[in-house]
């Protein structure tokens, strides 16, 4: 599918991540200066020049697991630590929020406005750092340069690629359930009223033309929806009214972060299938991760500043419970590498896996995912 999808996917998921973290930092009463440092560190890693250079290269999308590893890394770019259950919950919230935004996007091109909404909010999070603001503006400029000239057909391909990435993901999010934009089966509500997308006429009119191209007759039919005309198009400029609300911060003090961690049973079959299927591409995914994460500048928490742990749940007990009760098909824990029939390739993979084992850190409760991250540290 479209090789122009990754930057949009990464920036929007990153934006959602920052919304959730910002809300949880407040809820957990983390001192203001520490919270500011965390957000500044993560944002400056996200918009690091070397990293965005890799990001904007035309490339295919990678698996949900591979991408999850990138965010795991990003969330730990500062003095804050998240354990597995909180990281899982964070990733669930991010992915479901952006899936909703892509699905509800009025026109395929509007996924760019959603991205700009995220960038606008991210700039609002940056405190006292013109350098980081400049980095975000630079990314904005790159987005405009690359996506500003794409045709409607190319945007449709990008949208289809994003939707295929999010296909079969039906985690219920309580904020969405309360707002009645998500049904109890995990599917989103698609409204059949309100403004039509910019450039589309309210359905219900049939125009008849003669051979000369003149309109000679106009008829009406009952469409069944209850639409009104769009009043204005959102601005694609650096500063402007995006009109579209998708992609803005939906969390606030009165709307805390909450999730129900459940997938509908019907989808577990297809998910499980995806997990069991041998993945001979793991090595190429690793190369991708190495390239992408290699561009990230990670600040070690060993500096003078003491670190802290952020909990996405109200209490530690809840977090523990979530870790134990998480449905298996929703597990992202391990980037699995499975040997293939191909002898040469499997030897190569075995060698890579050995390299992982060598980097094992005894002080950490290591899983293969951690090994990979440890390896990335050395890049």
């Amino acid at each position: 599918m479209s090789v122009r999808t990754l930057p949009l996917l990464f920036l929007n998921l990153g934006g959602e991540m920052l919304y959730v973290l910002d809300q949880r930092l407040r809820a957990q009463n983390i001192p203001g200066d520490k919270a500011r440092k965390v957000l500044n560190d993560i944002i400056s890693t996200m918009f690091n020049r070397k990293f965005t250079e890799e990001l904007f290269k035309p490339q295919e999308l990678y698996s949900k697991k591979a991408l999850r590893t990138v965010y795991d890394r990003l969330a730990h770019a500062s003095i804050m630590r998240l354990n597995q259950a909180s990281m899982d919950k964070l990733y669930d919230l991010m992915t479901m929020a952006f899936k909703y935004q892509v699905l509800l996007c009025p026109r395929p091109k509007d996924v760019l406005l959603v991205t700009f909404n995220h960038l606008d909010s991210i700039k609002g999070f940056i405190q006292d750092s013109p350098t980081i603001i400049h980095q975000v503006d630079e990314t904005f400029r790159q987005l405009t340069e690359i996506y500003g000239s794409l045709s409607a057909g190319e945007f449709q391909l990008i949208r289809q690629t994003l939707l295929i990435f999010f296909q079969d993901l039906h985690i219920r999010v309580s904020t969405f359930l309360k707002d009645k934009v998500q049904n109890s089966n995990g599917r989103f509500v698609l409204p059949v009223s309100g403004p039509v997308p910019w450039g589309i006429e309210v359905p219900g009119v049939i125009r008849v033309f003669n051979d000369k191209g003149d309109e000679v007759k106009r008829m009406e039919f009952r469409h069944g929806g209850d639409y009104v005309a769009a009043h204005k198009e959102g601005s694609f400029e650096l500063y402007g009214d995006r009109v579209l609300k998708l992609g803005t911060n939906m969390y606030s003090a009165s709307r805390p972060v909450e999730t129900h961690m459940s997938a509908t049973s019907k989808n577990s079959a297809s998910r499980a299938q995806e997990n069991i299927a041998p993945n001979p591409l793991a090595k190429e995914e690793l190369n991708f991760l190495a390239r992408l994460i290699g561009g990230m500048e990670i600040k070690k928490p060993s500096g003078p500043e003491p670190g802290f742990r952020l909990n996405l749940f109200t209490t530690d007990e809840e977090e523990e419970h979530a870790a134990l009760s998480r449905p298996e098909e929703l597990s992202y824990e391990v980037i699995s590498i499975q040997a293939t029939q191909d002898q040469q390739r499997s030897e190569e993979l075995a060698r890579i896996m050995e390299e992982f084992e060598m980097t094992e850190q005894p002080e950490r409760n290591t899983s293969k995912g951690d090994d990979l991250l440890a390896m990335m540290d050395r890049l």
């Binding site: 090789v3 990678y62 449709q156 219900g204 125009r207 297809s270 001979p280």
Partner: protein, 334 residues
């Protein structure tokens, strides 16, 4: 009036692609075949009239070199006068199977030679005309394959140029022995339509200009081109002259599929706005002008419709697929 009938469960949900449902009617055997793309795989299944699934099969893309498993873009049954083949298009190439999907009889790899790195390469848009199968590509070219009465000896006969942007869909109509009559129409991502006359060498008859909006689905019936666009419009053109006769503001989102019931001239339009509409087309015998009438509208709640087809030539039943939905919804007239 149409009523919802028993739906057919799928093993995987339908991917967000336009024209993501193919239906092969086998009235002699009282069976209907359905084909739906899931993403890296496609599912074929046959069902009895009550919607009871009888047999199913999964198809994959032949070659898997690359970073992620290659995605399928479309599956479609091509009914030739002497043979039925199932054609599968993907980001790697074109696969042709015997109609039940059991044996692959032909494989055509896409040539990346002229693809720049910023463009995704794929085949999309499939239709049969006489003894040819035509398949569209990302580059805008249309590959014309000559199909023998039996066996795998399929040859690439011709490459048609006429489009500058990726092909979205191809429609054909069996010409009733009239020379020079248009019998194929092709559509692309910029909304340009090309009207062709098939033959040992295909002839471009008319080019209908686009207006910057993709045309995901197109149909051809008795010299009428029906085109569904990204802005929710359905436009009806005269295939011979390319003149616009009717413009319908039919949907609030992009149209994802059009289909025709040839016996009665019914047109079905399905869109991402969750609606399916059925229209009746007519060619006025005196003035020759094209007429249209709205027959039925159906809301498929909370479903971004990605495929829809009539299930009989009289247009009295239809089936619908939706993004992320692991079933085929069926509707029958009451």
């Amino acid at each position: 009036m149409f009523r919802r009938e028993r739906s057919i469960p799928l093993r995987g949900s339908a991917a967000a692609l336009s024209n993501n449902l193919s239906v092969l009617q086998l009235p002699a055997r009282d069976l209907t075949h359905f084909g739906v793309v899931h993403g890296p795989s496609a599912q074929l299944l046959s069902a009895a009239p009550e919607g009871v699934p009888l047999a199913q099969r999964q198809l994959h893309v032949k070659e898997g070199a690359g970073v992620s498993p290659p995605l399928i873009t479309q599956v479609h049954w091509c009914v030739l006068p002497f043979r039925v083949l199932l054609v599968l298009t993907s980001h790697r190439g074109i696969q042709m199977y015997e109609s039940d999907g059991s044996v692959m009889v032909y494989w055509h790899a896409l040539d990346s030679g002229d693809a720049s790195s910023v463009q995704a390469m794929f085949a999309r848009g499939i239709a049969a005309s006489v003894h040819f199968i035509c398949v569209g590509t990302w580059s805008g070219r249309i590959l014309v394959f000559d199909i023998p009465a039996k066996g795998p000896n399929i040859v690439l006969n011709e490459e048609l140029a006429g489009h500058q942007t990726p092909i979205t869909d191809i429609a054909t109509e069996r010409a009733q022995g009239q020379d020079g009559v248009a019998d194929m129409v092709t559509a692309d991502d910029s909304g340009v339509l090309c009207v062709w006359r098939s033959g040992p060498e295909f002839t471009l008859l008319t080019r209908i200009a686009g207006f910057g909006v993709p045309c995901p689905s197109v149909q051809l019936w008795q010299g009428i081109v029906a085109a569904g666009y990204g802005n929710g419009q359905v436009r009806l053109y005269d295939a011979g002259t390319g003149a616009l006769h009717i413009q319908i503001s039919a949907h609030a989102r992009t149209i994802s599929a059009l289909d025709l019931a040839p016996e009665v001239g019914k047109l079905l339009s399905a869109a991402e706005d969750t609606f399916v509409h059925i229209w009746k087309l007519n060619r006025n015998p005196e003035s020759g002008s094209i007429e249209v009438e709205h027959c039925h509208g159906e809301c498929i709640s909370d479903t971004q419709v990605c495929g829809a087809r009539f299930c009989d030539p009289g247009g009295s039943s239809f089936a619908v697929t939706g993004y992320d939905l692991a079933e085929i919804l069926r509707f029958g007239s009451v």
